[in-house]
Amino acid sequence: MEAIAALERDAELMLRVRAGDDTSFGVLLDRHRAPVVHFLYRMVQNDAVSEELAQEVFLRVYRSRATYEPTAKFTTWLFRIATHLALNWIRDGKKEKGQESLNDAVEGMERQVPDRQPTVEQEMLYAVKLKEVREAIGMLPEKQRAAVMMHKYEELDYSQIARALGCSESAVKSLLFRAYEALRVRLRHMA
């Protein structure tokens, strides 16, 4: 019930934005900024690019406020735009120009383990594991990668992922099964 209320609230906020209430846009931005940036970060594996693309997502939402109709879930719409931008960026080959080296994983790790001081050994082990996870995900075909990112990390359901990717639910399930199977094989040694 809470989830439904949240969805209705998103649509309501967007309708207010359509009516000219920019404060409601700020509320939507605060609510959805992190999931969108995180999804894009895992898709393009580049910190700066992910934020740039996320800005583009919200800019496009704002631009189309006048014609907004609550026909689909707001989150689905956001992820549809985000997926489109991420896939375009990957296909445009910008990946080679701007992608952080996977060797930079240690730097990322320092930000990601803030709760207690890890030993140097733990840090190194973590960095190696993280690099392998990123590489394994990076090796997935684009659509499989997008499906896994939305399913695993953003917890979208099959129908939302299907609408974001523009395919059927059964196609999404098929993408996910193949992707998880590939990941299981590639990351088996880490278990």
């Binding site: 970060y41 523009g166 278990a191």
Partner: protein, 176 residues
């Protein structure tokens, strides 16, 4: 999803989906209980569940970094710049950078189809005036004209063959 569990995850048609839903916490509670009872007695399914769970935990290692503190400020600055841009530029941006990713190609496809039809129509029109069909119509008229002449000639020939009319005969027989 409604098949009796467990027919083993690997054999059931929806086994893979059940496995995914279980590990992602999306499986209905009744099904969770059923699955957990099953994996206690089925080593194969237990192994499948453990493999998926391990993968899940491995993937959890990858945390995304925090979003920059100035994210909103940069976005609002971009929005302000856009609002200051001329209306035609904003209109072009909306057209070329749609919020719905599929919005652009559909009208473009319709426009392309209309253009192809229009060009095809224009190319076909002059051809109607000068080439193949026009001569054939003229030929038909000429043919009709020839046919009329032929008929007239034939009638004249028939006329020649026709014996003189009685009036002529009468006239010629008149001794004056």
């Amino acid at each position: 999803m409604n098949e009796g569990i467990m027919d083993c995850l690997r054999n059931a048609k929806s086994g893979a989906e059940t496995l995914l839903d279980y590990c992602s916490g999306a499986l209905e509670p009744a099904r969770v209980a059923e699955l957990e009872r099953h994996i206690e007695i089925c080593a194969e399914c237990r192994s499948a569940v453990e493999a998926q769970r391990e993968l899940w935990e491995t993937l959890d290692l990858w945390k995304a970094p925090a979003v920059s503190a100035d994210f909103n400020a940069r976005l609002y600055a971009r929005i302000a710049r856009e609002n200051e841009a001329p209306a035609w530029r904003r209109w072009i941006r909306r057209l070329t950078q749609p919020a719905a990713p599929y919005a652009l190609w559909k009208p473009a496809a319709v426009a392309l189809a209309c253009t192809v039809l229009a060009v095809g129509f224009l190319v076909e029109m002059p051809a109607d005036r000068h080439a193949p069909h026009a001569p054939s119509a003229n030929a038909q008229i000429e043919t009709e004209q020839v046919d009329i002449e032929q008929v007239a000639n034939a009638l004249e020939e028939l006329d020649l063959l026709t014996p003189p009319t009685p009036s002529k005969a009468t006239t010629s027989a008149n001794p004056m």
